[in-house]
Amino acid sequence: MSLEYLLTITKQTEIIPGIYELCLYGDITQQPIKPGQFVDIKIPDDAHLLRRPFGIAHVDRQNKTITLLYRVVGKGTAYLSRCPLKTELSVLGPLGNGYPSDHLMPGQNALIIGGGTGIPPLYELSRQLVAKNINVHHVFGFANQAAIFYEAPFRALGPVSYATNDGSYGYHGHVGLLLDAQFADAVSHYDAVYACGPKGLLMAVDSRFSKHPHAYISLEERMACGIGACYACVTKLRRNPDIQLKICDDGPVFKTNEVLI
């Protein structure tokens, strides 16, 4: 099982201002890839040493491509967005542990909660759940309507409830309030809950589903090695803060109530 792949950019599109869809072709798809796992990409400029972690939004085994969705936030993603087609990228992955879903049976229900650039890995997750005949409901939070991306692909998989901070689309308010307002019975109704997004969203999910036996959140942290060796990306266990887990290696997916966010 290899760790590093040279993947070729076969498609790169700015799907909404500042958000890019990036397709990478190569042998990485010959490995099992679980939704929620991530890749760590070397920006092809010597001045940038640290790799950039991104969730895997879509795995297409037939065409040997993976798709990433990323926002340009700093120098590395800006550089990536300017890389032309055919650029070869050194990619580590798949890294970390994905979202557990083996316990789900066809016909059961899953709630997928995301926000902003936490959404990408949830797309592959949703696809795989739907393929297993799980009913998927999505709850997504965005700053405003203009920030929403991948609406149609998600709607094709199941209903999507949106919350926007400014009320420009869907529910007016953040995801936590939307959950309170419209998903009061979610804990019992859903056989699995999956979340990825900004800290506030993760805290809302963590507390609301703290006792749910199959509720999972995916964390982000600044990383160096990406494989568990450097201790850059640690998080403390809730039941014993003297024990630290590594987000890159023990995560990025954790059970609710497991770690201190």
């Binding site: 010597d46 040493l49 640290l50 494989i227 568990g228 450097c230 850059a232 998080t235």
Partner: protein, 308 residues
């Protein structure tokens, strides 16, 4: 056949390249991806008396051709290292020499850890970390005064079963008196350099990016400073030097050796490329061949080459 072997106090190495402390854990993670027997040696993460949780996150930030880290010496403590980490290495890599990096809050801490860890059968040498910029106590203070550095070195040498390489700090006005003091105190060699103190600020919040505010700067950005300090220490001492600071390629490694290093450790480069060490080792023969060399012995002429 190129002969990459080198022989230093405590260390008979099949090649001069080893991962630097803190950038390779205790080897287990990288061992999932390649055979650690390719390495000349391995310098393990700092060991302290008690387990340490380290600093709050974020712990790393990127800088141009460099990075800042403020891990804060997180490690499971000497007991776990002696009982689990070192035995794991001994079992899986019985022929891999281990250099144990030792840190502490007080002289007594350092002495206790040196005594204990030097008894592990696979620990061939100690790297005494008197230069960590990322901890409130027992970091830099020990490394900036010749007297304190010498006193600590002496105490550790007295109890250690293996040679001690003292890891010097680049964050000083003049490294030479510190190196001389440490040599007089019985150090077997030097390890240099540790990271330089740096900071990044998030322009949005106007607050430091690292939770610890400052962090240690490593990576290619500091290579010219490492070369200068290695050269400076080499110009006043004949003790072996394990050089490090920004080494990424075989050419970098030879540049540090030309400056006076006898062996070379690779830190940050492991993060950019997890296979950095084996790739570098594989490239060394060809790099030496560029200069019509088939072993590292010509770098032993370095005393003649260096005029300061």
């Amino acid at each position: 056949m190129t002969d990459l072997t080198i022989s230093l106090p405590g260390l008979d190495l099949k090649n001069p390249i080893m991962p630097a402390s803190g950038c390779f854990g205790f080897g287990q993670e990288y061992a999932r991806h390649y055979d650690l027997n390719k390495l000349g040696a391995i310098i393990i993460k700092a060991a302290t008396k008690e387990p340490r949780l380290g600093n709050a996150t974020p712990r790393v930030a990127e800088t141009p051709s460099g990075m800042l880290n403020a891990i804060g010496l997180q490690n499971p403590g000497i007991e776990v290292i002696m009982n689990e980490r070192l035995p794991w290495l001994a079992t899986n890599y019985p022929d891999l020499p281990v250099i144990a990096n030792v840190a502490g809050n007080t002289e007594a801490d350092y002495v206790a850890v040196c005594q204990q860890i030097s008894q592990a059968p696979n620990v061939h040498a100690i790297e005494l970390n008197i230069s960590c910029p990322n901890v409130a106590h027992g970091g830099l203070e020990f490394g900036t005064s010749p007297e304190i550095a010498a006193k600590l070195t002496k105490a550790c040498v007295a109890v250690s079963q293996v040679p001690i390489y003292v890891k010097l700090s680049p964050n000083v006005t003049d490294i030479r008196p510190i190196a001389l003091a440490v040599e007089a105190a019985g150090a077997a060699g030097f390890s240099l350099i540790n990271t330089l103190v740096g900071m990044r600020i998030n322009p949005k919040t106007r607050q430091p990016i690292l939770a610890n505010q400052t962090g240690g700067l490593s990576g290619p950005a500091i290579k010219p400073i490492a070369i200068r300090l290695i050269h400076q220490v080499r110009s006043i001492s004949q003790l072996p030097i394990i050089g490090m600071g920004g080494v990424t390629t075989a050419a970098d490694a030879l540049e540090l050796m030309a400056a006076g290093a006898n062996a070379v450790a690779v830190g940050t480069a492991n993060f950019s490329d997890p296979f950095a060490c084996p790739k570098l080792i594989a490239a060394l023969p060809e790099e030496l061949a560029k200069y019509q060399l088939s072993d590292l012995s010509s770098f032993d002429l370095r005393r003649d080459l260096i005029h300061d």
